[in-house]
């Protein structure tokens, strides 16, 4: 299995085919690789339907934005901003998400500089997880929970974002680990018991990916 390399979030929208369009990345594992934590049914719908729709709609918005940009139509560009934010954010967020998940057999706690930074910011790995779980569960409606890196203070922070607002553009934090708490991310398996999903997803977090992102960011 090829371990996916971490990429800065800003580079994600530049990963395009020759036509310049955003593309749906492949998962680094099979749809059933995260069972029983996340079912293959969810993974397949989440990837091929939800994430793909963000990619398709992002490309449509970017095409219109390019035309508006060429003709200097500021009004049209401004009108397109919500669609770019929503679909661009959805594409960025889900790409980061697939990469920071892995089969439970391959998930082991962070080591090295990331582990030290977690301890410094939260006291311990377990304290970080319980704080991040609580904040992520508490997201109202649709959104994401993030472990992020604050470049100004050189420290880790926990943040949440609404809808598909991307972490870096919204808060300036560099994404280290993201957890999707839109209902589509867990509903078929967990129904309305979001706390169970967030509690269990720690089993499939890819801390090697997180370490690579952290090392690239600091």
């Amino acid at each position: 299995m090829i371990r996916s390399l971490a990429r800065p979030a800003s580079a994600l929208l530049q990963r395009r085919s020759m036509s310049g369009a955003a593309t749906l990345p492949s998962l680094p594992y099979a749809y059933d690789a995260l069972e029983p934590t996340i079912s293959s049914t969810i993974m397949e719908i989440h990837h091929t339907k939800h994430h793909n729709t963000y990619v398709v709609n992002l490309n449509a918005a970017l095409e219109k934005a390019e035309a508006a940009s060429k003709s200097g139509d500021a009004n049209a560009l401004i009108s397109l901003a919500p669609a770019i934010k929503f679909n661009g954010g959805g594409h960025i967020n889900h790409t980061l998400f697939w990469e920071n998940l892995c089969p439970s057999s391959e998930s082991s706690p962070p080591t090295g500089d990331l582990a030290a930074a977690i301890d410094a910011a939260f006291g311990s790995f377990d304290d970080m997880k319980s704080k991040m779980s609580a904040q992520t569960i508490a997201v109202q409606g649709s959104g994401w929970g993030w472990l992020g890196y604050n470049k100004s203070s050189s420290s880790l922070e926990i943040a949440t974002c609404a809808n598909q607002d991307p972490l870096e553009a919204t808060t300036g934090l560099v994404p280290i680990v993201g957890i999707d708490v839109w209902e589509h991310a867990y509903y078929l398996d967990y129904k309305n018991v979001r706390p169970d999903y967030v509690g269990k997803i720690w089993d499939v977090i890819d801390w090697k990916c997180a370490e690579a992102r952290f090392n690239a960011a600091k």
Binding site: G90, G141, Y187, N192
Partner: protein, 260 residues
């Protein structure tokens, strides 16, 4: 934690609060059945989960029975439990009245008080498809629809656009409302907000119909196919109830009352 209080404990608790007659009646009615379900020890919860006015499978095939059961018994129940917690120790206020200052009252009241009202409103405006198909907008309502949207079809198209994912938000509700000028509008609100809440829109507006577009409302049957759910939902909308809602808001400029 659900607890049962004895009738004797309840009466002093009820008597000592400045509770509006309608809510007090509700509380006493349930207490007279010799038990009351409360959300927290020591105090009567002011709000209850209303029963659906139809069976869980009544809205099939447009909304599936498992969704109705989980949506009612789990999601709506949680909002009721949490609004009772959020308003514990405060004088009981009718759930419609609670909406007005929900933003100022804080996230507990906003999210759970909004959630309780929205879902209670939602169950009552729907009915099995064979009955719904025999209902239609009243002539007064139809005139307003035509004035605002051109036609009922025009309204449904604009509603579909407003309810689309990413139109405004991930989770929320899409409403047809009467505004301050007695005209109809279509508005979307995020999460469990609604247009009765001061500060959510430019002015308070009064829903006559509304659709839950949180993913939990449709995911088991429709997955990501929200537009299909939105289009199908009209099959179970009870226009008789919408007509009543319209008459009520036009007359009172207040939110439609709900059970619970």
């Amino acid at each position: 934690m659900i607890m049962k209080l004895s009738f004797a404990l309840l009466i002093p608790a009820v008597a000592s609060y400045n509770i509006p007659a309608a809510s007090r009646r509700e509380i006493l009615k349930k207490a007279s059945a010799a038990a009351i379900t409360v959300a927290a020890p020591g105090l009567a919860g002011a709000y209850d989960l209303p029963d659906l006015p139809y069976a869980f499978d009544a809205l099939e095939p447009w909304i599936d029975a498992p969704t109705m059961k989980i949506h009612h018994d789990m999601h709506h129940q949680t909002y009721v439990t949490n609004v009772n917690k959020a308003t514990e120790g405060k004088p009981a206020v009718d759930i419609v009245a609670l909406q007005t200052d929900a933003l100022a009252a804080g996230p507990g009241v906003r999210n759970s008080g909004g959630g309780h009202y929205n879902h209670a409103f939602f169950w009552d405006e729907m009915t099995p498809a064979d009955k719904a198909s025999k209902t239609k907008p009243s002539s007064a309502l139809q005139s307003k629809i035509n004035a605002a949207f051109g036609s009922t079809e025009g309204m449904k198209e604009k509603f579909a656009a407003a309810a689309a994912p990413g139109a405004v938000f991930g989770s929320g509700w899409c409403w047809v409302v009467v505004n301050g000028k007695d005209e109809l509008e279509i508005v979307g609100t995020p999460n469990q907000d609604n247009p009765l809440m001061k500060g959510v829109k430019d002015e308070i507006k009064y829903p006559i119909l509304g659709l839950d577009v949180w993913e939990h409302a449709y995911y088991l049957k429709y997955q990501n196919r929200r537009p299909e759910y939105v289009g199908n939902w009209w099959n179970v909308l009870n226009w008789d109830k919408v007509n009543e809602n319209f008459d009520y808001v036009m007359k009172n400029h207040a939110g439609v009352p709900v059970r619970g």
